[in-house]
Symmetry: D3
Subunit: 248 residues, 6 copies
């Protein structure tokens, strides 16, 4: 039986409260992976954004011996709601959730939270949540890392995918999950996309307008360029970049 | 590298939106696992409630070919907040989150949601969220399953653990995760508890009162009775009970 | 002229603030009756849930010299909204109301609140409100009593009404108000129901579905079995049970 | 046994849903009494505002054969919170409650709601709630009646109490309840106030400032001038004024 | 180029934070002008309510050397929403905005806020916001001034416009802006209204009902009686009245 | 007397509702200027962000004959709250305000809103508000323009101020208001800053941390480099850039 069991001794969900109490005697930082459950074109997984955030965070956690929390798999994906399988919170609710998770961490004595984010639509509400939390005399070091925006990652993606990386269901994120979820891509239907998705247009769009402009969900990307080899490189670059930021 | 990859072809996060569109042509139900991240005594994992909800839901999903969504790992755990590692939403926010996830599912055409719950503190807010959602002319079949309350599960737990199963950090839930997360329990500190946790008292309690009454977090349970053998039996009984409900 | 005047010297609404100040020098508990205004089948009164909660609380108050607050006559009755006369709050608003009433009591120094509830649909939101209130370092003893769930009451109702007590507009609650509101039942239309209401079905239901499944509002009950004699016994059992809990 | 039973065949709480359904075939208006539970000086009852609203509404209901709902006994009494026994909702919650009650009435087909109010502090939030409800294409006739502001009432109070009627715990409202709650005033402590309460000052005030400025809770009133004789006249004038408005 | 530059050295928006810090060493009061953006009949400006509140506040500020904040141009104008150009907040949001602005002022040490209001529809929510803010142990002197309700203003308007002043788009407020915005009225279309607007009717009304009852937006007013001469007198009377209140 | 009167015939506040009705027959776009009231170092005006947004929007409006709404002078400035004079909304309230203003515009038939923003802290909540509004089947073209981010503006500022432009209280925004508010800068205290403000550090910061890191409020800027000459060029570049976007 395969279960949700992991091999990371710094994964909060697989630890006990006395272990967290011990951890807090020496360290005060934690990784909080967040993503989204939303369409990623005809071939990309609905869970890409939270699966990558979680897998990258787990690798960073092990390399830096930093605690990592459970992944929040639901984010702000309203604009993808015309594609079945997308699950979304409203921005206001998402902000409340983030503020309350940070408050929980603060109560226990954490002083630094690395929010490792896998979804572009989350950036504005996460930034907003940080402001909402940091009222008057609060003290908390809140760092947002959008892994696909890390310099090394964008440089590599530009080099190998150029313009066909696209803006949603990108070759980069699909490659990353082809590496981490190799068997899944094998068992899923094999679809060969020949043309990149529709070009980016006016923004923002409501769900119905989004589907009208981007009928298969991709935004300018050509996922057939994606593969597990690139995925491993991107994954490692993302992990290493974050590790360096933590060690700084 | 171990990743979050699973082997369940009905796990929404590892599927594409066209696959969900296809699924909805024939079926309209989905499993939504929810739990909590909260202390479970000196030996139990912080993630027990969502790990069990997820692992049980995944097994049910495979046996019944029913779609299963990502697990919501955060719930209503305010009363455990005096123990480090517990992460909680306020009940009001938790209700909003549930309502919005159900709304997302409804938009796509789902007609039946099985909320598979692993945490007692979630029951009141989930029930409340169902009411909040079912306004006037809504139509949605919302079923809450608290896996540890299933008749076969409670009968077995009573038989093997009797009074020492307890009310929180129970032998039953710890056994279940000793089965699903065997390696985790091996790598974690080995603690032998000789006495059951403090007896149940007045209820409800605030976080500080809770810790005062139940200093190590357990409520009347003696987790040293737990083991993976019992865990497998409980796990299978929970899965089979839910499968039968779905097939009914 | 008949007015809302009562004979209970411990009814807060008929006392002055200096009397409450005096009371708080010796005691710190209060009864807070809550109910609902909702359909109770073709013969039951719309106010049954709050009238019983209030009348029972008043009797308990006099017997125990415990302060009793005004009754909150509106609760969570969304599912009854397809029947005219039902008035409801959304669960979220109802939770806010309860939290703010408890906060008011706390400000004055009350340490124990007995919420005497007459409506099943209120249980989840009241429980949720208790959690919402009991944040971190609060101290407040919050006790929910659903009078029709008291052991002596259920035993008696089972004995005299068996399966025909039903789940809504029960013989038990109608009997109770036939005792407390004898003249009202005499002046209201005399309707003889021959068959029990529709059997319980899937749950929860939206208002329109509820009315479709339970066309006259009753759930499996046969109110023609109800009478004031049973009502007096039930009423007294409820009062005595609560009095014993308070004296414990 | 005295219970909450009344003699008004138009009291919604003592009617059944089919009776309301019948009523709505011919009429579409309802009286909704609202008040507050708050200090009324050393001699006035905490429930004055809702008891008067309810008793007056019941009399109006019988005379006009207009349906009357249960009384909402809690209102906006934040500024009285430094006196024990006062129970308050925040204005925002109170507005939500009112909007939801009006929505409930609208769902059943009511077209006119007479909110019969007994408390000055409720006026702004009730007015606000009416605006909140009357969004764009709504149609609902919402009438707020503050009974103590009715012209005949104020003229009479001015005539008999002059300046000593005051602004809170007024001779007028205390007289009214001395008429409706005669036995209560007899059983309560007999206190003879010789001087009127402190004069009105800057406004609004927070709870602590209020108690500082008005140490015994009265605002410029001399309740020893109150009696049941005046109360009967005031009560009748209030009832007759509202009856005339309804018949207009 | 004409810009938003003013000549008032006490206008907070044109000062620096060290200047405010200095001001607070000697004084602790501030003027906060608030209004609305809403239709004012066929000839009145949409901004009348906030333009008058701002211009009057600025004049008062200069005469009394009292700080004046920026004007909040949006208020509670739901009932005017059937006329293009009206912009509104819901009452609940408007209350939140006011409470947060007062909180900001309190944090800096202001002890007295004169809210100078130009719109009738704001009165109930502003009053409500004051209550919401003045929780328990707050200390803040909050004064609402509705400039058109000032005694000298109403007396003069009654004298010169009598019944034709009306209730909305009044001769008084249009005169005032004909004085302050003379060139604007010259460049706008010249419309001569011969008849007063429709008489006042039942109240409150939803937007669509409002437009049905008052087809051109005026309520009983005859704006052709308005002129800059009256406007100057009204403006000066409003300013002088407020100045006197501040100097008291 | 100087008043708030302007010379722009397309300024909504100085128009009548029939003029807006006419405008909407031919055009459906509007400019909505938004800013903040917050500290801008020892010499910058507290109103810079909304004054520039308004003055730039008014110039754009005249050049393009596009309607412009009143400016919202309050935004998300929590992090500046340790400096007197700053007024802020919480992000959540600010989002609600924006959504309701856009809803108002939509009700009247506007199809395109250009939000002209003068404050960096508003970007995340405005973006979030756009998402919140664009639910499912909405149709609305929402464009956010942060004027100081326009390419021509940033290029010029880099050229003339280089690194000393800074990140808050920048030479660019102070120059712009030295041009639009020349007399104000002359009448305000003349302060010569010799050194740039403290360098940028970790981000985000709470108010107290902000003031600790940036004691005089500037972030790396040297405002003594600012002057009205540069201001005119920057102002014109901003206006021209936006005009071009609108004409595109």
């Amino acid at each position: 039986m395969m279960t949700s069991q992991t091999q990371n001794p710094f994964y909060l969900a697989e630890m006990t409260w006395p272990q967290i109490e011990d951890y807090l005697k020496n360290k005060d930082s934690i990784l909080l992976p967040v993503g989204s459950t939303e369409q990623h074109g005809p071939t990309g997984l609905l869970g890409i954004d939270f699966l990558t955030a979680f897998d990258i965070s787990m690798a960073v956690s092990q390399k830096t011996k930093t605690l990592v929390g459970p992944v929040l798999p639901f984010g702000m994906a309203l604009h993808h709601m015309a594609f079945p399988g997308t699950l979304t919170l409203t921005p206001t609710t998402y902000i409340k959730v983030l503020v309350e998770l940070i408050e929980s961490l603060q109560k226990h004595g954490f002083k630094k939270v690395w929010v490792i984010n896998g979804h572009g639509g989350n950036i504005a509400p996460i930034t907003t949540a940080f402001c909402e939390f940091l009222n008057f005399d609060q003290k908390m070091d809140l760092q947002l890392i959008n892994w696909w925006h890390l310099e090394e990652v964008t440089l590599y993606e530009k080099e190998v995918f150029a313009d066909q990386n696209g803006f949603h269901a990108t070759c980069g994120e699909i490659s990353t999950t082809m590496y981490t979820h190799e068997e899944v891509y094998k068992r899923n239907p094999q679809i060969k996309l020949q043309e990149p998705g529709a070009k980016k247009t006016t923004w923002p769009l409501s769900p119905l307008e989004f589907r009208k402009h981007f009928p298969d969900g991709r935004m300018a990307s050509l996922p057939s360029l994606a593969n597990a080899h690139h995925g491993k490189i991107i994954f490692d670059k993302a992990v290493d970049s974050i590790v360096r930021k933590i060690h700084k």
